[in-house]
């Protein structure tokens, strides 16, 4: 891990010095132990802030659309011939690179507006799993030693192997190495085990309808509609989101049960063919709503009905922007 960090800083510094990118989006050490936060580096001398470790949970692609959109807005006042492109450098593992592919498929920016520093990924640590290991006590210090996390709390030190606290979405990850990149750092990581990725969806789908509904109601009742999931999600880049629209007003403000449910149904549905299972929404959710049970279902349907996996190929259209004449239509009602 240390080797890759050094290489990363060097490459990031080089890109900035050569003015190939205006900004590098990466991770820096967080303010709390065992955390990492996104950072934006514009000067080569700051590149030493960059870190890369199993606490880098967030999908950075979410910032690329925002940075480029802001830049384009600022350029509007200039004459067309005076406008420039802002090139964003980004540190991308498998899921981040797939999110970037989705943006490119959806024509949010051009391929030359982003420089992708690919890094292999062996999965990140789930903060909730770590917290459960120390019974929710406050973590005062933590270090990563080889493949073990050593956590210090008021009750003393405890060590846990990284593999036991790896996030669920990383454990069944199918694409842990970047699918597109301009520069690959480090060596290709060994594949994870995606064989059981839909096991939970299948188990859930087999439950009786009333139980499934009861579970959905129970989960969505937790939601406080802070929209952290939407803000963390790289695929939720709409500048005007349906939750804030007032003409028409799709959902009311407040946390009424039906409004929560409808918000979640629609946000989840917008992820059809666009969810890369990066787990950013799940990490961001303060109420621990089980979003993955539903996101995986959409992923499974996209694959099983239409052979589409989110963000794999640049030349492949997005799931809903294309169709085939022989798409399955067994759900169409035929009167007798």
């Amino acid at each position: 891990m240390e080797n890759m960090e050094a290489g990363l800083r060097e490459e990031a510094g080089k890109l900035l010095r050569e003015k190939k990118v205006a900004v590098i989006v990466g991770y820096e050490a967080g303010t709390l132990p065992l955390t990492a936060a996104p950072c934006f580096i514009t000067e080569a001398c700051e590149a030493d802030k960059l870190v890369l470790n199993p606490f880098c949970t967030q999908n950075l692609a979410t910032y690329v659309t925002e940075l480029i959109a802001q830049h384009r807005d600022a350029q509007k006042r200039l004459k067309p011939e005076g406008r420039t492109k802002k090139v964003v450098g980004i540190i991308a593992r498998g899921c981040t690179s797939r999110s970037l592919t989705i943006h490119l498929q959806e024509r949010q920016y051009q391929r030359d507006e982003v420089v992708i520093l690919g890094v292999p990924c062996r999965g990140y640590a789930d903060v909730r799993k770590v917290a459960a290991r120390v019974d929710g006590r406050e973590i005062t210090a933590g270090i990563l030693q080889d493949d073990k996390i050593i956590v210090t709390t008021a009750a003393g030190e405890s060590a846990m192997p990284l593999s036991e606290v790896t996030a669920d979405n990383c454990l069944d990850c199918r694409f842990n190495n970047p699918v597109i990149y301009d520069l690959m750092l480090g060596t290709v990581a060994p594949p994870m085990d995606p064989s059981g990725e839909y096991a939970r969806v299948e188990e859930f789908a087999a439950l009786p309808e009333a139980e499934r509904w009861a579970y959905f109601v129970k989960e969505m009742d937790k939601c406080i509609r802070c929209y952290a999931c939407r803000n963390a999600c790289p695929s939720c880049y709409c500048r005007s989101c349906f939750v804030e629209q007032t003409q028409p007003q799709w959902i009311d403000r407040g946390t009424g049960r039906a409004d929560n449910e409808v918000f979640q149904v629609m946000r989840l549905y917008h992820m059809a063919g666009r969810c890369v299972d990066c787990g950013s929404c799940i990490t961001a959710c303060p109420m621990n709503v089980d979003l993955r049970a539903y996101l995986k279902k959409l992923d499974k349907d996209g694959w099983e009905l239409f052979g589409h996996r989110a963000g794999l190929k640049l030349d492949e259209p997005a799931l809903f922007s294309t169709f085939r004449e022989d798409d399955k239509q067994d759900f169409i009602f035929e009167p007798e």
Binding site: V201, E209, F331, P335
Partner: protein, 156 residues
């Protein structure tokens, strides 16, 4: 109408979002041919099924519709060539997703009715009404207005 609801009985409210070029004309044909079908359906005319935001369906359920019927041209017969085929994908995913959540699958129905199929339109409405009636009033995703929980039911 011969198929008037029994007095005091519950009749479902079904929102039918239909394509201007096929199903709407099909419904018109059913009307001018005097084919009987239940008066449970409220038609919303749209230019094409491809124009339907899947949110319309969820929103209709939230606002108290007991069923939502979406109907357009048969694949290959779209006035805009491919609108219905683009829509088909969205609806396939939506229906599967609603079922998975636990919203009764029969509440959202998708079908194709062409302009010449008045009889088929009437059949669809009859069968969908019967299916929704069997399910009873919608309970899931429905927004109940505070203080007047029966607002939707009373209106019907």
């Amino acid at each position: 109408m011969t198929e008037t609801p029994e007095k005091g009985g519950w009749e479902p409210k079904i929102v039918a979002i239909v394509c201007n070029w096929c199903t709407y004309a099909g419904a018109d044909l059913a009307g001018i041919s005097r084919i009987q079908y239940p008066p449970s359906v409220r038609i919303v005319r749209v230019p094409c099924t491809g124009r339907i935001n899947p949110f319309y369906i969820v929103k209709a359920l939230q606002e108290g519709a007991d069923g939502v019927l979406v109907s357009g041209c048969h694949p290959g017969e779209c006035h805009y060539l491919t609108g219905n085929m683009a829509a088909r994908r969205k609806f396939a995913m939506l229906k599967s997703f609603l079922n998975y959540l636990g919203v009764e699958g029969d509440r959202a129905v998708f079908t194709w009715v062409s302009a010449s199929e008045g009889e088929r339109f009437a059949k669809v409405i009859r069968q969908v009404t019967a299916a929704v009636k069997a399910l009873g009033p919608a309970q899931r995703l429905v927004k109940k207005v505070a203080g007047q929980p029966e607002a939707c039911a009373a209106e019907a």
